[in-house]
């Protein structure tokens, strides 16, 4: 087994090289006019746009605003999604009873929830949080459900044999730890999904990165749009990196 293991520093280096390459190709594409001008700014044009957003204070404010919806929506969606997935995965009765409802609600797009968010929460942060939470919810729901279903059933016997046979004890001592790789994969997907929904969530006029992007987009300020896309990428990379640290710590036992 050629199990090449890379150290943290090598990973970082390789990752940076990969990114550099991407930026180089991007710059070349724009310079060689392979895309119509005005549709995609060159990376080198982003700097001045970014600076002007910062000096206007828009950038900092948008990040703060979006972060508040993002974090809250992510938390709510992840907790409820994992909770519901765990319960549906472990209690066949609940699973069967909710099967139809889940199939009815699942394919409703985030945009279609907007009227309900308006109705239930009004045009405010709660509405935006709700839309983010919904999209994160499903990802985590299915990941948790699948992870629970693939837990080695023999381990439940161990729990039962050592006095942890109650539903709660099995959940705590077997389902949760055994499903944790799957749960964490779901949480990670949700981290990204949450950023993707920030734009849809801020369709409500709630200020934030998404609203600012739409505004820039309607003014055809593509450079500003891309600045915010890169900003989101940066924020995501940061959350994903931090999450990776937690994840690696939690899954040490996998080696």
């Amino acid at each position: 087994m050629k199990d090449l293991r890379l150290g943290g520093r090598e990973r970082l280096l390789l990752g940076t090289v990969g990114l550099m390459l991407l930026f180089a190709v991007w710059q070349a594409v724009v310079r060689l006019q392979l895309v119509p001008p005005g549709l995609l700014p060159a990376p080198s044009e982003l700097w001045p746009a970014w600076m002007s957003e910062i000096s206007g204070g828009f950038w900092q404010q948008s990040i703060l605003d979006s972060l508040s919806h993002y974090v809250l929506g992510l938390l709510i969606g992840s907790i409820l999604g994992n909770g519901a997935g765990l319960i549906c995965g472990s209690v066949p009765l609940v699973d069967a009873a909710t099967g139809g409802i889940v199939r009815l609600l699942r394919p409703i797009p985030g945009l279609a929830w907007v009227p309900f968010a308006i109705l239930w929460f009004g045009l405010n942060n709660a509405g935006a949080t709700f839309v983010i939470a919904i999209s994160v919810f499903w990802i985590n729901f299915y990941a948790a459900y699948g992870a629970v279903k693939s837990v080695d059933r023999e381990l439940y016997e161990v729990a039962a044999a050592f006095g942890h046979g109650s539903f709660l004890a099995r959940l705590l001592h077997v389902t949760l730890p055994a499903a944790s790789p799957g749960l964490l994969a779901g949480l990670r997907t949700g981290l990204g999904q949450g950023w993707m929904s920030v734009v849809a969530a801020e369709l409500f006029g709630v200020p934030g990165i998404g609203a600012r992007m739409m505004q820039a987009s309607s003014l055809l300020a593509t450079d500003v749009v891309v600045v915010y896309m890169v900003t989101m990428a940066g924020l995501y990379a940061l959350t994903d990196f931090l999450f990776g640290l937690v994840r690696d710590r939690l899954l040490r036992w996998q080696g």
Partner: protein, 259 residues
């Protein structure tokens, strides 16, 4: 009187079409050390799981009369044939698994787990993950996990299967020592006839398909010399019972007493 009463019990995996074992009748008295012998795949592990209550019998009933337990103990404990450690718990945490929820303090749990690990010779491995252990080490952790809860009824499924002669002998001695001191009831599945003779008061042989009790023999006083002629006769008898070679015909083999 008896701690375990298995009455006309049968188990089927396919809802009654074919049975793993059927019409099994067996009582185990308090303090008895019973070995269960039988060919591979006959249903020994399945029987233990039925006694433990992990699977419900398809037919018959299993009654346990475990006494109200002492603080910090469990009424029954099981050593699984394939160790079955929780991969996400360190060795020490695996051993302490059964102690959780018994109202012990963390330091008490830790101390008892360490003691059990010392007993199986793994005092130094407490901080490792299960994947970092050898096969025999894993099995020993499984033994420690069961011993640590100090159960009334101890069910052991080939606990010393993967151990070298030395480790095995020392663990057998430990087990006997514990048993002599505490007089726990032990139901001990093994494929090793010598081990059964060495340890048990009584040896139950499961054989046939569907399996049922084909022999139930009492072994004489301890300490035991395996090379004595009477033991050798007993071993030969057990061998033919396991092989299903000599059909008892009568109840003669059941309850036959051996010196």
């Amino acid at each position: 009187m008896s701690l375990v009463r298995i009455e006309d019990t049968g188990l089927s995996h396919d809802g009654g079409k074919s049975f793993v074992f059927r019409h099994v009748d067996l009582s185990i008295g308090r303090g008895e050390f019973v070995a269960v012998l039988g060919p591979s795949g006959v249903g020994k592990s399945t029987l233990l799981r039925v006694v433990m209550g992990l699977i419900a019998p398809t037919e018959g009933v299993v009654k346990l009369d475990t006494s109200p337990r002492q603080a910090g103990t469990r009424s029954t404990a099981l050593v699984f044939q394939d160790a079955r450690l929780m991969p996400w718990r360190s060795v020490r945490q695996n051993v302490a698994f059964g102690l959780e929820g018994l109202g012990l303090s963390a330091s008490e749990r830790r101390e008892r787990a360490e003691q059990a690990l010392r007993l199986v010779g793994l005092a130094a491995e407490g901080g490792r993950w299960p994947r970092q252990l050898s096969g025999g080490q894993r099995q020993r952790v499984g033994v420690a996990r069961a011993l640590v809860v100090n159960p009334d009824l101890l069910l052991m499924d080939e606990p010393f299967g993967a151990l070298d002669a030395i480790t095995r002998t020392s663990l057998q001695e430990e087990l006997l020592g514990i048993w002599e001191k505490t007089r726990k009831t032990v139901m001990f599945v093994t494929h090793d006839i010598d081990e059964a003779i060495l340890l048990a008061d009584r040896i139950v042989v499961l054989a046939g398909s569907p399996a049922c009790v084909r022999g139930d023999l009492t072994v004489g006083p301890r300490p035991r010399d395996l090379s004595s002629s009477s033991r050798r006769v007993l071993a030969a008898r057990l061998r033919s019972l396991i092989a299903g070679e000599d059909d008892p015909g009568s109840e003669a083999w059941l309850r036959s007493v051996d010196i």
